[in-house]
Structure formats: C-alpha cells, structure tokens
C-alpha cells in the first residue's frame, strides 16, 4: 500500500459514521409537507384572485377568439330564447345533476357578487342566494363528470375555468356520472354563452368579499331541474 493511501486510511479509520439519517428523512418529509401546503395555498390564492379580479378583463370586452364561445347576439330571437344557442345547461336533461352559480360584476366594480345559486351548501343548508342580475353578459362553463378541460381560452377566462376546476376537488359528494356542473358568470355586455368543459367534480367553493352571505361558501351535490331563477337571470342578462 502506498504511503499516501496508507495515510488516508489511517486518518479515515478514526472517523465513525457521521450524519443522522433519521434527521435527513424528517427534514425531507417536512419539506414535502411544506411544499404541499404552499401548493394548496397557491391554488387557493389563484382561485381567490381569479374569482375576485379574473372576471374583470371580461367586462365590456367580448373576445370571440376565446375558447368554444358562442355569442348570443342580443336580438329579439335570442332574447326570446337566449339559452338555445350552445347552452347544454338549459337544454340538457333535467334529470342530470347540475349546479349553477351566478356571479355578477356590477359595472364599475371589481368584485364579483353571487347573485344566485342552486343546490346546497356543504353544511346541508340551502344556498340561499338571491337571484338577480345586474349585468348583461353571460358566460357558462359546463362540465361533465370525468371531463377534462379541453379549451385553452383567453387568459381571463382560462383562469376562471382553471379556478373552477380547482374548486372541484375529488372527494365526498362525487358528481354522478353523466351529470354536469355549470358555472354561470354574469358580467357585462355583450351576451356570450361559452360552454367550456372543465374537470367534472362536485364541489364549487365560492370565495370573495362580494358574497352576499359568507365569505366562503361551498356548494355541493347540485341536482334537480333547471331552476326558474336561472332562466330568469339569463333573460335578464341578455336583454333585447
């Protein structure tokens, strides 16, 4: 053995096992927990921001290039049947489970206000949202259970759709197969109905200071026929 190798061996032989593998495992586990929390917080923040300000770009700006959008021109025909164009929500089988949340952004304000909803809160109570409309543009995002979001709409709408997707966690109250979920956004003119498939799920969580009731509401397990308030709201939203 060479003197150099021998010297290295002599030096190293005095060294026991160093380091603490349990501490390393614990540190990495902690990192994973932290990243999960950060990820969830980021998702929640994105959802909240998208809800609060994401609809703002839609105000007063109809962009026909975004997503599978069908514009309902506010003509007398459209007014007579404003939901007859590209709207699976109203035309679909009423036996399908559905949910509707109507957001309204009053002209000149930033925060969306929930004007109406249908279904139940997570605590079993009625949504209790008051139908009504204060604006004139309609965005309808629909989804069926298991659907993937296939469109990549304009940034504003994408963020909304993405947020909604994030509001649909897997878990209790799974949407029945074949059911659909819709998010109806009532914003400003002109009237647009935009069916945008998103990942099907069962929970819509609504967050924002503009909510009439709680700052956060979770709407789950929507089902039943199309509520009259929705038809009314849509008609109100798309006046002739």
């Amino acid at each position: 053995m060479s003197p150099l190798r021998e010297q290295f061996d002599i030096e190293a032989d005095a060294i026991p096992a160093l380091g603490d593998i349990d501490a390393a495992l614990a540190q990495v586990a902690k990192e994973h927990r932290t990243w999960r929390r950060v990820g969830l917080a980021a998702v929640a923040a994105v959802a909240a921001v998208a809800l609060l300000v994401g609809v703002r770009p839609l105000l007063g700006s109809h962009n026909p290039a975004v997503g599978p959008t069908t514009t309902v021109t506010p003509t007398p025909t459209a007014t007579a049947s404003p939901l007859s164009v590209g709207d699976p929500v109203v035309r679909g089988d009423s036996a399908h489970h559905r949910s509707y949340v109507v957001f309204a952004v009053r002209n000149g304000t930033d925060q969306p206000v929930v004007l109406g909803g249908f279904g139940q809160e997570s605590n079993g109570g009625d949504v209790g949202l008051t139908p009504g409309a204060a604006s004139v543009n309609v965005q309808i995002l629909t989804a069926k259970a298991g659907d993937q979001m296939v469109a990549a709409p304009a940034a504003s709408r994408y963020s909304i759709a993405n947020s909604v997707k994030n509001w649909f966690p897997t878990g209790p109250g799974t949407l029945n197969s074949g059911g659909s979920v819709a998010l109806v956004l009532i914003v400003s003119s002109p009237c647009t109905i935009a069916p945008t498939p998103i990942t099907g799920a069962t929970t819509i969580q609504v967050s924002g200071a503009g909510l009439r009731q709680d700052t956060t509401q979770t709407l789950v397990d929507f089902h039943g026929p199309t509520p009259a308030w929705l038809t009314s709201a849509l008609r109100d939203a798309c006046p002739s």
Binding site: S2, P3, L4, D9, A12, I15, L18, G19, A24, L25
Partner: protein
C-alpha cells in the same frame, strides 16, 4: 421495504465509508459531518431516482457535488492552515509514525481542492475520467492538479513523498 427502510439500510451499510471520504475531503470532522448530512438529505430527496441495487456511486456523486458546491461557497470547507488536522492518535516514536505525521501535516496544508483530487484518485480509487466528472473539471485539469498537489506534498514532506510508488506516470511526470 419502504423508502425510509431502504435509506436506513444503505446508511447502516455504507455510512461509515461515506463519512470517511467526507472527512478526507474536508479535513475537518465538523465540516465532514455537515457534508455527510447534506448528502443524506439530498440522497433522500433523490432516492426514487437512485439505482436501488447499487446506490453508492450515485450517493458519492451527490457528496462530491455538495463538496464542490461548498468549495464554491467558501463556507463548507476550512481553508488550510499550518496546524495539523484534528485526529487523535497516540504519538509513536517510530520512523513510520514520524513519516505519517509529516505526511499528515503536509496533507493538511494542501488546499481543499488539491486534497480532493488526491482523495478521489488515491482513496476512492476513481479514474481520472471519473474524478473529472465528480469534480466538474476536465481530465487534463485532474492530471495537472493532481500533479501540482503531489509536488506540493513533496515540497512539504520530501522524505516521505519521495517514496510514493502509486502515482501514475502521466501524473507523476
């Protein structure tokens, strides 16, 4: 066996060898402990990508990489000094012991980088190519720096280092 069990089993088997390399690289037990711990943390993070049948080469690469990062940050490694490294050993009046002390002192006066070249080449038995990959340098740099390190050892401990026989000719020349 889950990941934790696999990692623990590996450390139980090879932790001492890794620790000794870390010590030789850093020349300081506290720095070696830090290096080993950093290596373990990174190893756990990357365990799913490590070949389970033979994880040691990958883990050693992690250690070398962390060591080089430490050199670059100038914080992990104690810079060389004229003092001897911190290894407790009984004094021996024999000439072998004197030679070892002289060599130890000379090694302690190498720069961490020079020491790393010697450790990887003559303790971990890496080839020049493997050493170059481990330290992120070219093969020619490995050759030249190893030669410089050995020359410095010869200057510091001429009576001991003159007897080196394990230095490849292309390095020794």
């Amino acid at each position: 066996m889950d990941r934790s069990d696999e990692v623990r089993a590996f450390v139980a088997a090879r932790g001492t060898a890794l620790s000794r390399t870390a010590y030789l690289l850093t020349g300081n037990r506290h720095a070696a402990e830090d290096l080993v711990q950093e290596t373990y943390v990174e190893m756990v993070r990357q365990w799913s990508r490590i070949e389970r049948a033979n994880p040691e080469p990958y883990v050693r690469r992690i250690m070398y990489s962390r060591f080089i990062d430490g050199l670059r940050r100038r914080r992990l490694i104690e810079w060389p000094s004229a003092t001897l490294v911190d290894v407790s050993r009984s004094d021996d009046e024999s000439s072998d012991a004197v030679d070892r002390m002289a060599l130890r002192g000379a090694l302690a006066q190498l720069t961490p980088r020079q020491r790393a070249f010697l450790v990887l080449r003559f303790y971990d038995d890496l080839t020049e190519v493997q050493t170059a990959q481990a330290l992120g340098v070219s093969t020619s740099t490995v050759k030249s720096q190893t030669r410089v390190a050995l020359q410095r050892l010869r200057d510091l401990a001429p009576d001991v280092v003159s007897s080196f026989h394990d230095v490849p000719e292309e390095v020794a020349e």
